[in-house]
Amino acid sequence: MQWETVIGLEIHAQLATKTKIFSGAATAYGAEPNTQACAVDLGLPGVLPVLNKETVRMAVKFGVAIGAQLDSRSVFARKNYFYPDLPKGYQISQMDLPIVGVGELQIEMEDGESKTIGITRAHLEEDAGKSLHDDFHGQSGIDLNRAGTPLLEIVSEPDLRSAKEAVVYAKKIHSLVRYLEICDGNMQEGSFRCDANVSVRPVGQKEYGTRAEVKNVNSFRFLERAINFEVERQIDLIESGGTVAQETRLYDANKNETRSMRSKEEANDYRYFPDPDLLPVVIEASFIEAVRADLPELPDEKKARFIEEFSLSAYDAGVLTASRELAAYYEEVNAVCGEPKLAVNWVMGDLSGLLNKEGKEIGESPVSAQRLGGMLQRIVDKTISGKIAKEVFEAIWNGEGSADEIIAKKGLKQITDSGAIEGIIDEVIANNPNQLAQYRDGKEKLMGFFVGQVMKASKGKANPGQVNQLLKSKLKG
């Protein structure tokens, strides 16, 4: 039987506010346990939540960016359950009236196919603390630093049809929240987390299959693997006569498998009700308009502009604009060297390659956009060849200075004086009489040999175009 995969994602994006959603405590990552938890975060008797307005602005920003319906009134609700790292015994979240309503997002697959993914809603909520199970000798430690950290939970429609699509969608949301500067996107630190609702159904069937929710996925790579594992598990299960249970499953990256965490029967009845400590949030149209006016250029707009302005391919433009920092870097390189295509090749080629190899982000690049642009300028004005540029680039990467400094210091300036090049050619021809004879007998393949010898003799500095031209006429004799 042919199976179709159906996926919906729930993404928790930690909002990049300085303070928590309902208290004045700091949200910085990595502090000593319980040093960033005030009376409100501890859930002491008598304390009350006060909404951090910045979280509302950030949520609205996201809503505007995905063209979502933004109702004027949204309500915070209590989600009641007991857990040691949930200090109040309830999480303040949103249920019936989320701050961001229905919206959508375009995604482009590698093959250029584009698809619209529906976004059901996005709502504000507070994060819980952390339970620490090691080092406490049979007891658990509770760290409430994270308790009360603002989250925007972004819920997609079940519009995704493969693990690949899910990853492309998740990356697009990741890119968007970073463009909007509402989330730092750090998946290692848990600032951006994905849960996947996965089900399968026979191709052609209208009804959805029973879904399992896969949690604990902290990278895009694991997201793809976890979904693929889960899809196979479900298909195997059904094909061997079983049925998929509605449950929450935990992904184990070490074993690359999902394990049942709790079944529907074991699931909590969260007893949601409007939080009486918080008033409904009323968003005025003027507020939405102010947020809209303040919106940065978004990935799709930037991509279109790159294609238009720099004549880039859709693929190149897509890769460059996926990250706001990379796009800005590219634009700066381009502004310095004035050759969009050359800039693309270097940014996406040598630079990205080296960054990937060393596991660095563009923001951590040892080669600044100014320096890369400066080097490309020297290619454009023929001071160095593309080949020498690789050597120069490596030197810049290693902190040896700017392109000009390195070219001067290492004497890498291209030889463009015809007389000097002719001298080298004459010497090479004189040293290789056999090859010359063969060439003149019609073995024209040997042209490459001579070019190589000349370049070698010039230590790569001879202008390759001139070498070719002059060599051709000299070899003819």
Partner: protein
């Protein structure tokens, strides 16, 4: 000295007739002598009180004292007081020393008032007789066989017994007005949002409101002046300007339109209580008020709606009492489930457990619409009843409670009859309106309270109306036997 009102004590302190230390010693001595029997205080902070009193006297000597500097009082044990046990009438918080001050507590401190201690109350403010307190029942100073009412029963008894000139209270379904009525004092529940709830341990967040309990309306005005006002730490506190509550106390009542809801005078009302209320109304007529019968047709729905909304909210509010970070923790928990169930099972009393269960049930999947949503709709109907009434009358009067104080143990086995003792007070909480109870006479030798319900933010008028009555009558000056 203990028979003086706050206004009088303020004058005596200002004139140097008495020092704050002497006054504080006097009240502490009374507490020591009379409270072992009454049980109105759960904590007496004698040492701190005397230090605060000395500081108040010093401030007065150097000319930096305010009108209330050095005046002793007591806090209901529901308000968090930094460094002082705040148990809220529960075993659950018997070991809880609050690390911060409630908004109301800060305001009293800033005014230089001297806290004598914390008063007894029903556990987590759930009760109408003070019998649900972990610290034992409070006795009514008028008859020690009877309850003082609740949940602010300790505050009411302490003020009635002249153990403190005033005490703070909180009112979720009548917890200021009902004990004020049963103990023969004046108590005011302000408009919801008038006084910050910050630091007040939540029972039912959408209904809870703090207010003053004192012997006269004039004193309540002075105290409300201090307690009221916007607080950015409480999102439900309101930004309306705080008027001068003492300014209009003597305003004429000529032409005042009083509404008497027929639903407050029907079946279940003790005839002797009804008679006291009717006499009080006659007094108002003499002062120039006009009286009109009105109807609040949804009154019969108030108690049922309240007993959905309040338990629903409390079931969630009390979830933080889980034995993990503070409060009672059971010995040697076997696992997490055991930690929760035994800590909570041991820490909470019967009435609290009953309400948590009712509330959790009302909020659970499949019942939410039938109970919680319906109760919220009833709240709207009740608010609309009042809204309609206030187009015809300026304020509403009736009995605060259907009977005078009942005997200890009389209703504690029958929750429904206990709940019905708040039948006249609950509506004001559901609608968020201000309500006041003032002594209006006696029935069966026990005090009877007259309830006055006003429109939103009309506390000044309630205080004016109560004050004028207290100028014409002496019911509020009556003293229980044996405590002179």
């Amino acid at each position: 000295m203990h028979n003086k009102t706050i206004a009088e004590l303020s004058a005596a302190l200002a004139s140097g007739e008495v020092s704050s230390v002497a006054l504080t010693e006097h009240f502490l001595a009374r507490i020591k002598r009379l409270d072992p029997e009454l049980n109105s205080f759960v904590t007496v902070t004698a040492e701190q009180a005397l230090a605060d009193a000395a500081a108040a006297d010093a401030a007065r000597a150097e000319g930096s004292a305010g009108p209330l500097t050095g005046v002793p009082f007591a806090h209901k044990d529901i308000f968090c007081t930094e460094g002082v046990k705040t148990a809220c009438g529960s075993k659950m918080l018997d070991n809880f020393i609050a690390p911060y001050d409630a908004a109301v507590v800060s305001k009293m401190k800033a005014a230089g008032m001297v806290m004598l201690g914390k008063t007894n109350m029903d556990e987590f403010a759930m009760g109408s007789s003070n019998e649900t307190s972990f610290y034992g029942p409070v006795k009514n100073p008028w008859d020690k066989e009877r309850v003082p009412g609740g949940s602010s029963g300790g505050s009411a008894a302490a003020v009635a017994a002249r153990l403190a000139p005033m005490a703070t209270g909180t009112d979720t379904g009548g917890s200021i007005r009902q004990p004020a009525s049963l103990c023969g004092i004046t108590g005011l529940k302000p408009t919801y949002g008038r006084v910050s709830r910050y630091g007040m341990i939540a029972f039912a967040s959408s209904l809870d409101q703090a207010g003053p309990m004192a012997r006269s309306a004039e004193d309540c005005a002075l105290m409300l002046q201090l307690m009221a006002g916007f607080d950015e730490r409480d999102s439900t506190s309101l930004e309306n300007e705080v008027p001068d509550y003492s300014k209009g106390l003597n305003n004429s009542l000529e032409g005042l339109r009083i509404g008497l809801p027929k639903e407050y005078f029907g079946e279940g009302l003790d005839p002797e209580v009804a008679k006291v209320i009717e006499t009080a109304i006659e007094e108002y007529k003499k002062m120039g008020a006009t009286v009109k019968e009105i109807s609040l047709p949804n009154t019969h729905l108030a108690v049922p709606a309240y007993y959905i909304v309040a338990p629903a909210e409390c079931s969630s509010n009390l979830s933080r009492m889980d034995g993990v970070r503070f409060g009672h923790r059971c010995d040697d928990p076997k696992n997490l489930e055991d930690l929760y169930s035994r800590s909570r099972g041991e820490g909470f009393g019967e009435e609290v457990k009953r309400r948590i269960l009712v509330g959790a049930y009302a909020l659970s999947a499949g019942y939410y619409d039938a109970y919680y949503i319906k109760a919220q709709q009833i709240r709207h109907l009740i608010s609309d009843d009042f809204k309609a009434a206030f187009t015809e009358v300026d304020l509403i009067m009736g009995p605060t409670t259907p009977s005078t104080a009942f005997n200890v143990g009389e209703k504690s086995k029958d929750p429904i009859s206990m709940y019905l003792s708040d039948i006249y007070t609950i509506s004001a909480n559901l609608a968020g309106l201000p309500g006041l109870s003032l002594p209006a006479g006696f029935a069966q030798n026990m005090p009877v309270g007259l309830q006055v319900i006003g429109n939103y933010f009309d506390e000044a008028r309630l205080l004016n109306v109560a004050h004028r009555f207290q100028q014409e009558t002496t019911w509020h000056q009556q003293t229980p036997a044996g405590i002179e």
